[in-house]
């Protein structure tokens, strides 16, 4: 367990945390403002990645793919809002779960039909494809550092948007008491559509960023969706700040846990038992963390909605 390895794993954990934040931010906004649970948020992340692959084939450039895929993700998000989600806002959570489950089934399968079940990949942009020496004996890919930077930039942008602009004020007000915001004459439908579209674009952005370092395949959003749920449950539903902190915590705990659980288990167990137990413990860590947080704070670290 050397210092270099620890540093690499910490950076990897940060990077997972950033991706989780981008997904969880949209999820927590949609839930906070519309009181709508959107299971299909993970497939929107997947669609971002697939759109980027398709747009890359079209333009031959990562940056072109980025722009086109972002627009595509936004467009698809708005279309979904119009067709499905708009009719779900005033339904109960069970209906929302079922309908969005239907959306997942359709889109996961649809992606298989259009692009095939085999994993695809998106080439890295040349500009970011090298590695740099961060410290003695630690070579880290530039792209991953750029990913962390881009995520932090988006987090900052979101913070400014939510806390300093009029639209952000409405979003915050909507998260606290949507009925009152509507009663005060705000076009609540348009606000909802805006928030939803923005949320799906963020998820799509995460998908595009992840495409060059992870494989692009059907169902790739499912695992991250569950992690994003853990994040917003820990952070407090509706809270961007909570989502940011919780995403970094979950990203770090999960990555470091997977990296070191077996080594730590070896200190108390025989090597072969540790090899069996380590991975199992590592995969349970974040859920135990979530259970622990909820036990002491049933509405998460930063609950947005009071009462």
């Amino acid at each position: 367990m050397s210092a270099t390895l620890l540093a690499v794993q910490t950076l990897n954990g940060l990077q997972l945390g950033i991706l989780l934040f981008l997904i969880a931010a949209g999820l927590t906004l949609v839930f906070g403002v519309m009181d709508c649970i959107n299971l299909a948020h993970g497939v929107q992340y997947m669609l971002g990645a697939y759109l980027a692959v398709a747009a890359y084939a079209l333009t031959g450039s990562f940056w072109g793919a980025l722009v086109l895929a972002l627009i595509g993700a936004l467009g698809l998000g708005l279309l979904l809002e119009l067709l499905v989600f708009r009719h779900l806002y005033d339904r109960d959570h069970l209906d929302q779960v079922l309908a969005t489950f239907g959306v997942i089934m359709f889109l996961n399968e649809g992606v298989k039909v259009v692009w095939g079940a085999a994993p695809l990949s998106l080439p890295m942009p040349d500009l970011l494809s090298g590695s740099i020496v961060l410290m003695d004996g630690l070579l880290y890919p530039v792209y991953r550092i750029a990913l962390i930077g881009a995520g932090l930039g988006v987090a900052l942008l979101l913070y400014v948007l939510v806390s300093r602009t009029r639209a952000g004020m409405l979003v915050r007000a909507g998260a606290t008491n949507p009925a009152m915001v509507g009663a005060l004459g705000v076009n609540i439908r348009r606000l909802f559509m805006l928030v939803f579209g923005f949320g799906t674009m963020l998820a799509g952005f995460a998908g595009i960023l992840a495409a060059p370092i992870l494989v692009v395949e059907p169902g790739m959003g499912d695992n991250l969706l569950i992690l994003a749920f853990v994040v917003i449950v820990i952070g407090g539903i509706g809270s961007i700040r909570g989502a940011f902190l919780a995403a970094l915590i979950v990203g770090l705990v999960d990555t470091l846990g997977r990296g070191f659980a077996t080594d730590i288990a070896k200190m108390v167990l025989s090597p072969s038992a540790a090899n069996d137990v380590g991975p199992a413990i590592a995969s349970m860590l974040i859920y135990v963390l979530m259970a622990g947080v909820l036990f002491f704070r049933p509405t998460g670290l930063f609950p947005a909605r009071s009462g």
Binding site: R91, F101, F106, F229, S283, A291
Partner: protein, 321 residues
């Protein structure tokens, strides 16, 4: 909501239940007459999932607890049987208590935490615990990990292996389904069941008469977990194979779909819903391997336009609550 199961006169629900179970009981004979063995295998699967759906209906329909991790119990039950078999323990007198204890314990621990929360938190937490079980299973490299675990036989009774015979196995599963269904009906009709329903309608009123719903919910959650564990044990026996896929969150979603298709709040509906889901899956997958492409939109349409599920459509002509 339908809820007239307490009268002594045979109700429409009783009649429908007799019809459904009679159909299950007569099916092997009919299949033998037609020379079709596939349908017997298929119906075993239907009945196993019907048990899981009834157990979910008990907490989802009666208590409005939207558990999105119910497939975990299916998997836990299956793994309990599979892992015991891996160590050479096949007898039902050991495996059944182990299955029920494991699932009951897991339900008690996760339920105690999950039930502290409400609404959407509950959905996400049960989902997360379900995934925890799933990932734990995939990392059990000693028991097959991702690939699952093949069982070289079926559960035995005092050294005999009666489940090897297809028809016997069929009727054992049917008996389990009947037992679970009757038990669930008794629970619904009891004071315990009325507290659950009362907590669903208004927790405040229930507290006002001096009842704390938490222990009741937890008890129901544990009972439902054990019932689903039984279904898992049967599933492992039916397939002679145990896989982490049994507890994937898609499976949990499908269980919810079964309960809702059959009509929330109706235990018999859960059985009908499980059958309809699996039949629909089978039929659609004959049309195209991408049957989910058709089923997804169908599900969305059912949610948006067809409230009350299949039994609702049949029984009440589309009541709107």
């Amino acid at each position: 909501m339908t809820g007239s199961t307490s009268s002594h006169r045979p109700s429409r629900t009783d009649l429908a239940a007799v019809v459904v179970f009679a159909a299950f009981a007569l099916l092997p004979a009919a299949a033998a007459a037609m020379g079709d063995t596939f349908i017997v295998f298929f119906t075993i699967r239907v009945m196993v999932f019907a048990i899981a759906a009834v157990s979910l209906s008990l907490i989802l329909g009666q208590g409005a607890m939207v558990s999105f991790g119910h497939a975990a119990y299916l998997g836990l039950g299956a793994y309990a049987v599979g892992i015991l078999a891996e160590h050479g323990i096949w007898d039902v007198t050991v495996s059944l208590p182990v299955v029920l204890l494991t699932c009951g314990l897991f339900a008690a621990i996760t339920g105690a935490i999950s039930l502290k929360t409400r609404g959407v938190y509950f959905i996400m937490i049960t989902l997360a615990f379900g995934q925890m079980a799933y990932y734990t299973a995939t990392s059990l490299s000693a028991y097959g990990g991702d690939d699952g675990l093949t069982m070289w036989g079926r559960t035995e009774v005092f050294g005999f292996a009666p489940l090897g015979d297809r028809t016997t196995f069929y009727y054992v599963v049917l008996a389990c389904l009947l037992g679970v269904y009757l038990l669930a009906r008794m629970i619904v009709a009891s004071r315990f069941g009325r507290v659950l329903k009362g907590a669903k309608q208004s927790e405040m009123r229930l507290r006002a008469v001096g009842i704390d719903p938490y222990p009741y919910r937890l008890a129901a959650y544990v009972i439902a977990g054990m019932m689903a564990g039984l279904a898992g044990a049967l599933l492992a026996n039916a397939a002679e194979f145990v896989s982490p896929a049994y507890m994937s969150w898609h499976r949990s979603g499908e269980l919810i779909v079964m309960v809702v298709l059959g009509g929330l709040g109706s235990l018999l509906g859960a059985i009908v819903g499980a059958a309809s889901f699996l039949v629909l899956e089978e039929l659609l997958s004959h049309i195209t391997e991408h049957w989910r492409l058709l089923f997804g939109p169908f599900l969305i349409l059912v949610v948006l336009f067809g409230r009350g599920g299949i039994t609702g459509l049949l029984g009440k002509g589309g009541r709107n609550d």
